[in-house]
């Protein structure tokens, strides 16, 4: 029989050692997103920050669904975004990360937005959040345009991002939110 080198013990060990509670790559259809959310709800039951972690997961996953450059066309001709979403547990806390392609032309505005949010005090974040909720929806936004500020308000510590250039005018963008474990 032909050996399929897709899965190995080493990979299994990596996933176990990093305590990857969720580890998904694919189209984030709403139904899949909802099921992944149920896994988080079940596997993290009792965790004090569960509601915040779940909320951030939904924002990141719906960001991929709506805005990822890589898209799958559904039978009804709507499209769903493809990306990766990972929830990890470490001794210091939990990390929720998303990774997806975005157009290189959007990189600068994305960087600016994240750095602007990271520089705000909690009071300023609150004010900015409510202001944005009342602002008109940006043309290219299916949501409120306040996902990032909400993620920042719910998580601990700055939003961490990375950008890697890939061919064809695309970039690979990751965003990570951290949740400190309470003593």
């Amino acid at each position: 029989m032909q050996k399929l080198d897709i899965l190995s013990y080493e990979q299994y060990k990596t996933v176990s050692d990093h305590r990857l509670l969720i580890h998904f790559k694919g189209a984030l259809y709403q139904d899949i997103l909802t099921e992944l959310g149920s896994i988080i709800q079940t596997s993290m039951k009792g965790e004090t920050k569960l509601k915040k972690i779940f909320a951030v997961f939904v924002e990141l996953a719906q960001n991929i669904l709506h805005y990822s450059l890589e898209r799958i066309v559904n039978p009804d001709e709507s499209t769903s975004g493809v990306g990766m979403i990972v929830v990890t547990e470490r001794p210091e806390g939990y990390y929720v990360s998303s990774g997806n392609y975005i157009s290189s032309s959007k990189i600068e505005s994305m960087k600016e937005k994240i750095e602007f949010i990271n520089g705000l005090s909690p009071e300023d974040k609150k004010a900015y959040y409510t202001k944005q909720l009342r602002a008109d929806r940006p043309d290219d936004s299916k949501g409120a345009g306040v996902g990032l500020i909400d993620i920042s308000r719910k998580s601990d510590g700055p939003l961490v991002y990375s950008i890697e250039d890939v061919p064809e005018g695309k970039s690979f963008f990751t965003l990570t939110a951290f949740f400190k474990k309470e003593d």
């Binding site: 909802t34 909320a55 409510t130 009342r134 949501g143 409120a144």
Partner: protein, 124 residues
Amino acid sequence: METIRITSTKNSPEVVLDFDNGIAEVVGESYPENAVSFYKPVFDWLNQTISQKKPFKFVFKLDYFNTSSSKCIIDILDLLQIYHSNGGKINVEWYYRQDDEDMKDTGEEFLEDVDLPHELIAYK
């Protein structure tokens, strides 16, 4: 007007829009794929109810909502505000689970930006 009932799903709340009894209710979790289209029946109902000057209460009893739903909630509150400012009779009830301080805070945050008769109500 016939009562509109939308059954809840894992990612969308139960919605009851009862004109005769003057009650609009949104109950459960709200993170549908497209919040704007999900809440459209609510806005249609509100516009009709307001145009008929019907006194009513709006009940929010949500465990969780995402940011695009929160935008819709703010839009609902702003619409209720206009109604109230024009003499319409409206009361907002914001329910939160007793141990859910965040949902209580969110309710306070949303309601402090408008001038509407309201109650924040804890439940077990």
